[in-house]
Amino acid sequence: MLTYFLRRILQMIPTLIGVVLLVFFLFKYFGGDPAEILGGLQATPEQIESIRTELGLNEPVPVQLWMFVTKVVTFDWGSSWATREPVLEIFKSRLPATLTVMIPILLLEVVFGIVAGMAVAYVRGSLTDRAVMIVCTIAMSISFLVYVILGQYVFAFQLGWFPVQGWSSSLTTNLIKFAPLPVFLAVAVSLGPYTRLYRSFFLDEINQDYVRTARAKGVGESRILFVHVLRNAMIPILTNVATHLPSVFIGSFLIEVFFSIPGLGREVYTAVNRSDYPVIEAVTVYLAVLTMAINLLTDLLYKVVDPRVVLK
């Protein structure tokens, strides 16, 4: 177990180096000139030159790369080009809002997905099953944007059940007042794809021999579903949740943009519009690290969920 863990950590290093190189060279050779972005249109050549010196853009490329690596390791990314706010502060202040919205979304999505997927899989082939599948397919073909536009219009603007947008500094106010509509809309939209996906996970298990054996020895239907089938379907479900987990931290940037939630996703989106490279670079590198860590954690969890899994 420990050797496995250590080897996986070591394997992450080349990937991490790759991500750093990718981000560095992407912005170095394909991005705009930082001095021109920072200086603006009115900048004189002297001002541009002084910004270049300040940012170290006149150094040779390997030196610049080394400066970039130093930023990654020391977490010192300087300040945002647009707002002069330290990049690390942006992370600290925006992440809570994102998590306030995204954790309830993820939990509800998975719970509803499991319940709906299991229910539909149980009545597979029936009229209900086919009807639900058709509804899911059509629901999935409508853009996420439409649900949010309509949901915000109907529930907040017309009916006034929720505030149209907004955010406060108190966690409870946020959870009770501002988060419910975004959470509800995101969960409603994800119900289609999740039901379809989880149905296929359960279908793979529900026809297995062990289910028939359990029935033959008189195990109740609910015990078969929730103990036998669910336990076995946990592996693909876990994989699915793990692939979605990194996006919990970046947040559904669309939800954040629509509802003016001061989260990380909206921050990155505004950074793109303002060509605020340090923010984008920092978020990309650290979320890549986080993704790798989550992947490792998932692989370790497989062992917990299914003792037959051998980590090697």
């Binding site: 990937t15 992407l26 059509i138 999935m140 309509l150 990194p246 940037f253 519009n273 990309t284």
Partner: protein, 345 residues
């Protein structure tokens, strides 16, 4: 004696697809949209989508003309003209101007009060916009999917066929791309395309979106194609080809590729759907197609503000067109997968 003729993979797949009623009707819808795209591309359809053919926010035919026509009233009543020729230093010019003005014939276009699917804020026909938007969105989706499939297949073939160092290197590349959440990769590329030297190269059109989506989207295809190539590279037919001196390139793309092409095709059509959805979101955010173009995404972003004014038709038109195409394409993909799956035969 002649061996009995057995139908090939594609013939059998076609026969299976033809027996699938849902598959065939979605194929018809997809082909219909394809025709629409081609006609719009050739300029035969919806080429005048930018013309202001109707009054602002003209409703659809079946809703009837809008009842609040105050805005039009105020426009026609001009302010009374004052005679200031005694003090105006430009007074001698009046006559010349009058003559010049007389030469210009003013064409008063009768603006429609209703359109088939209504009109937008400045009176452009929503139906024409939806068709033009279909052209742009579908072209972006298909082009990006083709490019992502090309990259993924090429790299997957190289990695799976040769193995060894090439495989290690490409696996590393795959891991790098895969460890960055794709939303962030899209954002990073969008930022680069916005202000970098690439912005000048591709100053307009759909190229940036296509490149962004395909650079982000090739990884899944690469993974599957690589697995297929690993499976196939040791098979007898490939070894036999090697024995008679067929080159690496011919073995990779002449012998193995046709045998994995069904995987590639299904991936291609899956990606068309997801790329169209992505394009719509990117264009909505202003990171997609350029400002002077219309796509389903830009229509939705206009529709968001229109909805608050109670003008819902652009939203309905863009949503309806997109939902119809995407549903048909997704069902066609499902049918295609069933028809091509060797396990179901």
């Amino acid at each position: 004696m002649k061996a009995p003729h057995s139908p090939g993979l594609w013939t059998m797949a076609w026969l299976k697809l033809r027996a699938n009623r849902v598959g065939m009707s979605s194929l018809a819808v997809v082909l219909g949209f394809g025709l629409l795209v081609v006609l719009a591309q050739l300029g035969l359809l919806a080429s005048d989508w930018q013309r202001e053919v109707a009054t602002p926010f003209a409703p659809p035919h079946w809703v009837g003309p809008s009842t609040d026509s105050e805005e039009i009233q105020t426009q026609s009543e001009g302010s009374p003209v004052l005679d200031i020729s005694a003090v105006d230093p430009l007074a001698p010019q009046y006559e010349t101007w009058a003559r010049q003005a007389a030469q210009v014939t003013e064409v008063v276009t009768q603006k429609a009060t209703t359109r088939a699917l209504g009109a937008d804020r400045i009176g452009r026909d929503v139906l024409a916009k939806a068709i033009k938007g279909a052209q742009v969105s579908i072209t972006v989706g298909v082009a990006a999917a083709l490019m992502a499939t090309l990259i993924g297949t090429l790299l997957g073939a190289l990695a799976g066929y040769f193995g060894g160092v090439i495989d290690d290197l490409l696996e590393w590349l795959y891991n790098v791309f895969n460890s960055v959440p794709y939303v962030l990769l899209i954002f990073a590329l969008a930022a680069v395309f916005k202000s970098g030297p690439m912005a000048r190269v591709f100053s307009n059109g759909i190229a940036p979106v296509v490149i962004i989506l395909s650079v982000v989207g090739w990884t899944g295809i690469y993974r599957l194609v690589r697995a297929e190539y690993i499976k196939h590279r040791g098979r007898e037919y490939v070894r036999a080809a090697e024995a008679i001196g067929v080159s690496h390139l011919a073995r990779m793309f002449g012998h193995i590729l046709p045998n994995v092409s069904h995987v590639v095709l299904v991936q291609l059509s899956l990606h068309v759907v997801s790329f169209i959805k992505a394009e719509v979101i990117l264009s909505f955010l202003g990171l997609g197609v350029s400002m002077d173009m219309v796509s389903w995404g830009t229509m939705l972003s206009e529709a968001q503000t229109e909805l608050v004014l109670g003008k819902w038709w652009q939203l309905v038109a863009a949503t309806g067109f997109m939902a119809l195409f995407v549903t048909a394409f997704a069902l066609l993909t499902d049918a295609l997968r069933d028809a091509l799956d060797p396990k179901l035969r």
